[in-house]
């Protein structure tokens, strides 16, 4: 993955290596003035000059000027525009994760006004589907899941509210600095709103190991703090702080002290489930629950010493009491500071919790302190607010760059830095460093709002290029992977997009937003693989099964085979860039799988219902729905021949397997 980019940026690489001697000699202390001064990612973005270019008539935005000028340096040319039909399908998938309706396509094709493209992007950005698509991508980055993983895989109460909060925030175009602040420190804000408490549930979303038997409190606490620290490094700063947990970072200038000083911001952070009910209701609920819990505990003790003959009776008594338990109150999964239970943070030798080194105070990593480092006392009242304030400072060299790179990557398939979770030495160097800084500063200057950035990117010529341009000899030699963007990158639909599109084209998509997560029916064998198979509860209302994939439960120990097969992230670590693999089980899934076959039936019914005149019309309609275009003559011919002796549902199934359906050009 790295090699091709390396070729491109080899000169930068060489410069860096010359500065540092060699990888083996890279200073590890973070004190080194060399690394601080020379490594690009740790210096704040600088407003770049927008390059002058010759082919101005194509350029629609400064973005194009950056891209074109680098193309020219490499004797490459930008591609012509994609067709309007390609563009609307591309833009709709990029912003909604759904296909455009044939009507929307027709309207756009007929719109000859000079503002047609602008109007399209504006209306797509204004739709709530935008939050569903881009919310999911953020959920990938912060390893969102609704269960704790490991043995028990306990469900996190109300975790779905966090997913809704993310979708709402994207749809409101909440400034990213506020969005980050709410997630890092929402509970510390003055009179936090429900949404802010929900946002702070960010710290609860990692895997948590619970175990029966002898408790290992200090070890478990260390695991939790480690998880919470690492995700901040990866998701927000795009650096692998985790490496510095056990040793001085071998590749980046972070010391172990830097790591534990960052961890110290979370020292007082404890799990907290906030009930959304008036106090008297909560008190009553607690009283009732406690009485029952005590009774159950007594019985459990009794059962330990009971004879085999007595056990069944005791068990049925326990079951009876369990059934009397009041329903869980609506809960916000959150955290709070508990100064009493504050963990004393030390440097841990080799990261092992009981090899304690020197105690550390909380402060941001030293390398990133372009303003004099501030150390805070352990009893700081709002420690995470201080952290959030530092993360979102306009001159923080990483936060804005990392975010705009994620946006870019999800539009073009490659990031400007193609290792979106690693901006360190081991990551790739930016293909267009000045463009990255330009975008990062645009974001900050524009009040950290993302929608204007999407708009600017998507209206550029760079984004409007065709993906079908054949590679010239020069392109094949210099840039076979298209990192310089001499054309647009075709991409396969993501797992959720495939399922959502199948639902949409077959007319079954239930567009209802928000709410508790849905569990789809899956093979019993998979459910039986759960520690507690009762956790898997399929809703009674079949319409619920046709909701968008972002509303399906994100359960660590049971992922849908369909999603797994199409490269949905594993829900364990941050995923900044999805894989897109091609293999036979995908074909089997779309040919023989339940989801594809069930929806092929519906798709055939829809075609029959909507186009009653001729088979020709049904074929036309099928192509319009799945690919956003008319069938070509040879396609029509093949389809008509196929339908002579094959049923419409087999035709419908075949459409689900078309490259032009599964890929966006």
């Amino acid at each position: 993955m790295m090699t091709n980019c390396h070729r491109l940026i080899i000169h930068i690489h060489v410069t860096v290596l010359l500065c540092l001697g060699s990888y083996g000699l890279i200073p590890v202390s973070g004190q080194s003035p060399q690394t601080k001064e020379y490594f690009w990612a740790f210096n704040p973005p600088v407003q770049p000059e927008i390059p002058e270019i010759a082919n101005k008539n194509l350029a629609r935005s400064p973005i194009d000027q950056f891209i074109f000028s680098q193309l020219k340096q490499n004797q490459l040319l930008p591609s012509a525009e994609a067709t309007k039909a390609e563009f609307i399908r591309r833009a709709t998938y990029d912003l909604h994760g759904l296909p455009p309706s044939p009507k929307a396509v027709q309207t756009f094709l007929n719109d000859n006004s000079p503002m047609a493209y602008e109007n399209l992007i504006d209306s797509l950005l204004a739709s709530p589907h935008y939050g569903e698509k881009w919310g999911q991508l953020w959920l990938d980055v912060i390893r969102f899941a609704e269960s704790e993983g490991f043995e028990y895989d306990r469900h996190l109460p109300g975790a779905w509210r966090f997913r809704d909060y993310v979708i709402r925030s994207f749809n409101e175009d909440k400034p990213f600095d506020l969005f980050i602040t709410e997630q890092i420190a929402g509970d510390e804000l003055e009179n936090p709103t429900d949404d802010q408490r929900i946002a702070a549930g960010f710290h609860r979303l990692g895997s948590v190991r619970r175990n029966a038997g002898n408790p290992e409190i200090a070890l478990s606490r260390n695991e939790v703090l480690t998880e919470r620290t690492d995700i901040i490094g990866t998701a927000i700063l795009g650096i692998t702080m985790g490496c510095a947990r056990c040793h001085e970072h071998k590749l980046d200038p972070f010391s172990q002290e830097d790591y534990y000083a960052l961890q110290a911001f979370m020292a007082a952070t404890q799990e907290y489930n906030h009930f959304m009910a008036p106090q008297e209701v909560i008190d009553e609920w607690n009283a009732k629950t406690n009485v029952l819990k005590e009774k159950i505990a007594d019985l459990k003790e009794k059962k330990e010493t009971a004879t085999e003959a007595e056990k069944p009776r005791i068990k049925s008594e326990m079951d009876e009491l369990n059934s009397q338990m009041p329903n869980q109150l609506p809960t916000i999964l959150s955290i709070k500071n508990d100064p009493e239970a504050r963990t004393k943070v030390h440097i841990l030798e080799r990261g092992v919790w009981d090899f304690k080194g020197d105690p550390v105070k909380m402060r941001p990593p030293e390398i990133l302190n372009h303003i004099k480092p501030v150390e805070f006392e352990a009893d700081l009242k709002h420690p995470r607010t201080a952290l959030a304030e530092w993360l979102t400072r306009p001159n923080n060299p990483l936060t804005a760059r990392v975010l705009v790179n994620r946006i870019w990557l999800n539009h073009f398939g490659n990031g400007l830095v193609n290792t979106p979770n690693d901006f360190g030495f081991n990551g790739e160097r930016p293909s267009h460093p000045k463009l990255l800084d330009y975008l990062a500063l645009r974001l900050v200057q524009g009040g950290w709002q993302q929608k204007p950035l999407h708009r600017e990117i998507m209206l550029s010529h760079t984004y409007r290029q065709s993906s079908r341009t054949p590679a010239s000899v020069q392109a094949q030699t210099i840039d076979p992977d298209n990192r310089l963007l001499w054309k647009f990158n075709r991409r396969r639909l993501q797992a959720e997009e495939i399922r959502d599109s199948l639902l949409a084209v077959s007319g079954r998509l239930n567009k209802e937003m928000y709410g508790e997560s849905i569990m789809l029916p899956v093979e019993d064998e998979l459910v039986q693989l759960l520690y507690n198979p009762d956790q898997w509860q399929v809703p009674d209302d079949p319409k619920e099964l046709d909701r968008r994939s972002v509303y399906l439960i994100a359960k660590r120990n049971l992922r849908l085979p369909f999603m797994e097969t199409f490269d949905q992230p594993a829900l364990q670590n941050s995923c900044g860039r999805r894989e897109s693999s091609t293999h036979a089980p995908q074909a089997l899934e779309l040919l023989n799988g339940d989801i594809a076959n069930d929806l092929a039936d519906s798709f055939a019914k829809r075609l029959r219902f909507e186009e009653q005149e001729t088979v020709n019309d049904q074929v036309d309609r099928a192509w319009a729905l799945t690919t956003g275009r008319k069938p070509k003559a040879n396609e029509m011919e093949l389809a008509m021949k196929f339908l002579e002796d094959q049923p419409l549902r087999e035709f419908a199934l075949a459409m689900f397997n078309l490259n032009d359906f599964l890929y966006v050009h």
Binding site: E151, L529, F566, S581, T582, P585, N592
Partner: protein, 481 residues
């Protein structure tokens, strides 16, 4: 499939007809294959780079091609199986003498008393290695086994220990060894998945699905989870009311449409067409391999198929043999599933639990070794046996044993492993590996080595690191290779 002539001979009845891959593609789909053939050829030239499951050349000459992992989930006891401890019986009922040092358990408290074993040991084979009376069948294969009595892991809790055994980390999210080996070597089979897991139909394991999966590797390297029953592979069977002939027409239609706009240089779309060919091949050829009804009665009897106690594990072991015979790279056959006592997790009563678990598995395990051997497959199939930890010398609840990670037994056979020997030792009560301790990472590294893979070269970039199976560097178990 092998350079061993004996192996070739035995393979014959099961190996595929001599039609090559190219011929197959050309012939596939009533001649349509020819249409895609040109692009395929091109794809094949680039397959090393473009087909992630293409056979890859190992880093050095391998001794093994496939691995079968007989996973005894829950943690079988070393003292009851392969590691006799006479002193433990002498000290039965006493507190552990201080000289043996501390151990941290999940449940057992400090005041626990040592628990002697009721098993008896006997010497077997030319090697004269002692095996307990739990395993009379396995004992007859002892000259093929390299028994490592000094295994260690880092966790005493099921889930974390299982993650470490399968992936090298105590946390979920890293690829399992089966995925790593498929990534490193590709798939030898066109019609079967390259990495198969056969779980115990009795139920789930504490670490759940994530321990088997490909973690941060692409989905090409995901395990195929075989289901119990007649149709083990998901989506291989056609939906109700659809005939194979109809579906073949649909497939042709799909391929014609997808090929109609295919550019020769389009490797990704060529690979997609290829994946449909393979899917169809799996659909038509895999069921034949997966069907054990054609096996001779003698073979079925060997595995204990037809006997209630051994029916399930026997079937799965026989299937494992058929899979490696047909080019599957890595097969995990799990013994134990469901809560606690349905695994080898003998907290309550070591006797009841281990007698039962051994009765289900001993004969099938031995049958697998013998069957592989007589077919010449043991030559390049490495078999690994063991759990995520062993069990405590101290008693839990009087007659049970707790989890224990400081010293326990695993064994390997075949794939160039030198059998008929014991490596390493625990102390006199079976508490701690005191001689040549070998960690899971050493076991991983040794398996990689037998497959011709270098632990430092088999890497994948993830979150800023070139990750590998042996998170910390593993040693080679030199004695057995």
């Amino acid at each position: 499939m092998s350079t061993n002539p004996q192996h070739m001979h035995f393979c014959q009845p099961h190996s595929r007809p001599t039609r090559t891959r190219r011929e197959f593609i050309r012939d596939a789909f009533c001649g349509f294959g020819g249409l895609a053939f040109a692009s395929m050829l091109h794809a094949e030239e680039n397959r090393y780079a473009k087909n992630p499951l293409a056979v890859r050349i190992p880093h050095f000459t391998p001794k093994a091609k496939s691995v079968i992992f007989l996973f005894m989930s829950g943690g079988p006891s070393q003292m009851e199986t392969f590691d006799p401890k006479p002193l433990l019986n002498e000290l039965h009922g006493q507190k552990k003498p201080e000289i043996f040092g501390e151990a941290k358990y999940q449940f057992v408290q400090e005041d626990a008393k040592l628990l002697g074993t009721k098993r008896t040991f006997q010497r077997y084979g030319k090697s004269g290695i002692e095996v307990s009376d739990l395993f009379p069948h396995t004992a007859t294969c002892v000259d093929d086994l390299a028994i490592i009595r000094s295994c260690t892991g880092d966790s005493v809790v099921h889930s974390a220990a299982m993650y470490e055994l399968f992936t090298g980390r105590v946390t979920p999210g890293a690829p399992s060894m089966g995925s790593w080996m498929t990534y490193g070597l590709g798939s030898e089979s066109d019609s079967l998945p390259s990495y198969v897991v056969m779980t115990d139909p009795k139920g789930a394991l504490p670490a759940g699905q994530p321990m088997y999966t490909q973690g941060f590797l692409p989905a090409n390297y995901q395990p195929t989870m075989f289901r119990p029953g007649e149709n083990p592979v998901m989506n291989l069977d056609l939906p109700e009311g659809v005939s194979l002939d109809d579906r073949k027409q649909t497939l042709e239609f799909i391929n014609e449409l997808n090929a109609s706009s295919l550019l020769e240089t389009d490797h990704e779309f060529s690979a997609r067409i290829n994946s449909y060919d393979l899917a169809f091949k799996m659909q038509t050829e895999a069921p034949e391999v997966l069907d054990i009804s054609g096996e001779p009665q003698e073979t079925l009897d060997l595995y204990g198929i037809g006997k209630k106690e051994t029916e399930d594990y026997g079937r799965r072991c026989l299937m494992a043999r058929k899979l490696v015979e047909n080019g599957v790279r890595f097969v995990t056959v799990v013994s134990g599933g469901g809560t606690g006592n349905l695994m080898w997790d003998a907290h309550d009563d070591i006797e009841e639990n281990h007698l039962r678990m051994a009765m289900h598995t001993d004969q099938p395990v031995a049958a697998l070794i013998k069957d592989l051997k007589r077919r010449g497959l043991l030559y390049d199939t490495l078999v690994l046996w063991g759990g995520e930890f062993g069990r405590s010398p101290e008693a839990q609840k009087g007659v049970g044993r707790d989890h224990h990670n400081l010293g326990f037994t695993m064994w390997m056979a075949g794939g160039g492993i030198k059998g008929g020997q014991v490596v390493g030792a625990t102390d006199e009560i079976g508490l701690r590996a005191v001689e040549k301790p070998y960690h899971f990472r050493d076991v991983h590294n040794t398996i990689l080595h037998q497959l011709g893979l270098d632990q430092h070269k088999l890497t994948y970039p993830h979150l800023g690191r070139d990750e590998r199976l042996t998170f910390l560097e593993g040693k080679l178990i030199e004695e057995i290779i």
